[in-house]
Amino acid sequence: MFKNFGYFIREAGTSLSRNRLLSIATISTIAICIFILGVALLLTLNANRFIDQLESDLEIMVFVDQELDEDETADLGDLLESTPGVQSVEFIPRDKALEGLEDKFRSEKYTLRDTVGKDNPLPDSFSVKAEQPHEVVKIAQEIEKMPGVYKVNYGKEMVERLFSVTKLVRIISMVLILLLAFAAVFLIATTIRLAVFSRRKEIYLMKLVGATDWFIRWPFFLEGIILGLVGSLIAIGLLVLAYGSLLQNIQNAIFFIPLIEDSKMLTGVYLSLLGTGAVLGVAGTWFSLNRFLDV
């Protein structure tokens, strides 16, 4: 393989330039595919991050039974803190809860305190945050069973809807990405098939002279990989420009959606797109050679 590497590269290059128009068409299509793939990927990553952030804001409100005294309430707090999966526990005394409500319902004519009289109807409560957003439901159910807990509120519907939206976004982008990958593989397979066709005399001669299967296959694989890599490089170039200008120009307008700026993560995205291009090239060639190169 290595002794002949130069030869294989030359052969692949010759074949690519011989079928120049088709090579350009294939590279453009791969570029478009990888570009859309990249857009979908960046979109998904940003959406996931946005959703993660929303999820991490989720908290479990634990209302304490009114009959508990201060010590017992403190014990419950300790118990909550020691529950596995719990990130933080914040105690909200009933007076503070009432103040919070008063702030919300302040009116000029009368205060909430006037309405409820001297008795504060609100219980003490704890605000509990989970380490993992998807554990919220489980933890809430566990807390419900603890002695001294009057009621647990964790925005059940909100949590469930959020998860179903995340799931939908993930499924749609997976389907889109799969379809595009198929299209790219099909195109590469077609290009390689034509390359095989235009070199059928050469291939026949190689076989008769005694070339091994892999000696015949290598130039085609390199051709497929080159097509995949060049196409994805173009796409990545476009993505870098497009995403960069998005960050620069639009981020301020949509400050509430924090776009990913982490260059390490973006480099990871671009490298994986490049890898995908190469893999698509290999897959397309594999398809084509298995069907059209009877060695």
């Binding site: 002794k3 011989r18 001669l205 002279v209 091994t212 000696f215």
Partner: protein, 228 residues
């Protein structure tokens, strides 16, 4: 014995019976004509020797190796003991004379130095000295076939298989090609040549196996032996 056919029959998937119970043996260093009208089975004999096809019945041995039982991955290495010359030359149009010949060395893994040494030798041997950098389109038919022969012998095969090598050439040019093939044979290579050109065979004093409708109808092996 370098080539042995034992009761070989070949029926193609489309039902055409190409060979019917064919047996013959070739000695190392022999020159054999395979005669017969088109459709007689000459091409099938060649395809079977090259393991492009496998027989429906019978056994074939080349250099004592069973062609029928050969594993797929052995085929390339098996084929390296043979060189093939075609009626239509099958030269690569976008490669020069040197490159066409080097191509055959390259695909079996020869190194650059080896190629640089061997290719000019072979070009000289087939009488194309000075035409190394011509493209096939710049050569006459006879010259193109000489390139084809050079490509077939560059890897020093034990057997040279020529399938109607003069089929596209006029008689004078054909005689030149025949001389070249005889030279190669004299240097020790076994040559098997399929043809239907009676005039080339007539005065050759070589062994002639004649095929018709898939059967051997004559083989003058003994007669030639007596004549020599």
């Amino acid at each position: 014995m370098i080539v042995q056919f034992y009761n070989v029959s070949k029926t193609y998937p489309n039902g055409v019976k190409a060979l019917n119970d064919v047996s013959f043996k070739l000695d190392q260093g022999e020159f054999v004509f395979l005669m017969g009208p088109s459709g007689a089975g000459k091409s099938t004999v060649i395809k079977l020797m090259l393991r492009e096809e496998i027989p429906t019945r019978g056994q074939i041995f080349i250099e004592s190796r069973s062609v029928v039982r050969m594993q797929k991955k052995e085929i390339p290495f098996f084929r390296r003991s043979m060189g093939v010359v075609f009626q239509d030359f099958k030269l690569l149009e976008n490669k020069t004379v040197s490159e066409n010949i080097a191509f055959a060395m390259r695909v079996v893994g020869a190194g650059n130095q080896e190629i640089r040494q061997r290719v000019p030798q072979v070009i000289k041997m087939v009488g194309l000295d000075g035409k190394n950098d011509r493209f096939p389109s710049q050569l006459s038919g006879g010259e193109q076939q000489r390139v084809g022969i050079a490509r077939a012998i560059v890897n020093r095969p034990l057997i040279l298989i020529a399938d109607e090598p003069t089929g596209n050439l006029d008689i004078d040019t054909s005689m030149g090609i025949m001389e070249l093939l005889y030279d190669i044979n004299r240097a020790g290579t076994t040559v098997i040549m399929a043809t239907h050109a009676r005039e080339l065979v007539k005065d050759s004093y070589k062994r002639v196996i004649t095929l018709d409708q898939g059967r051997i109808i004559s083989d003058n092996e003994a007669a030639i032996g007596d004549a020599i």
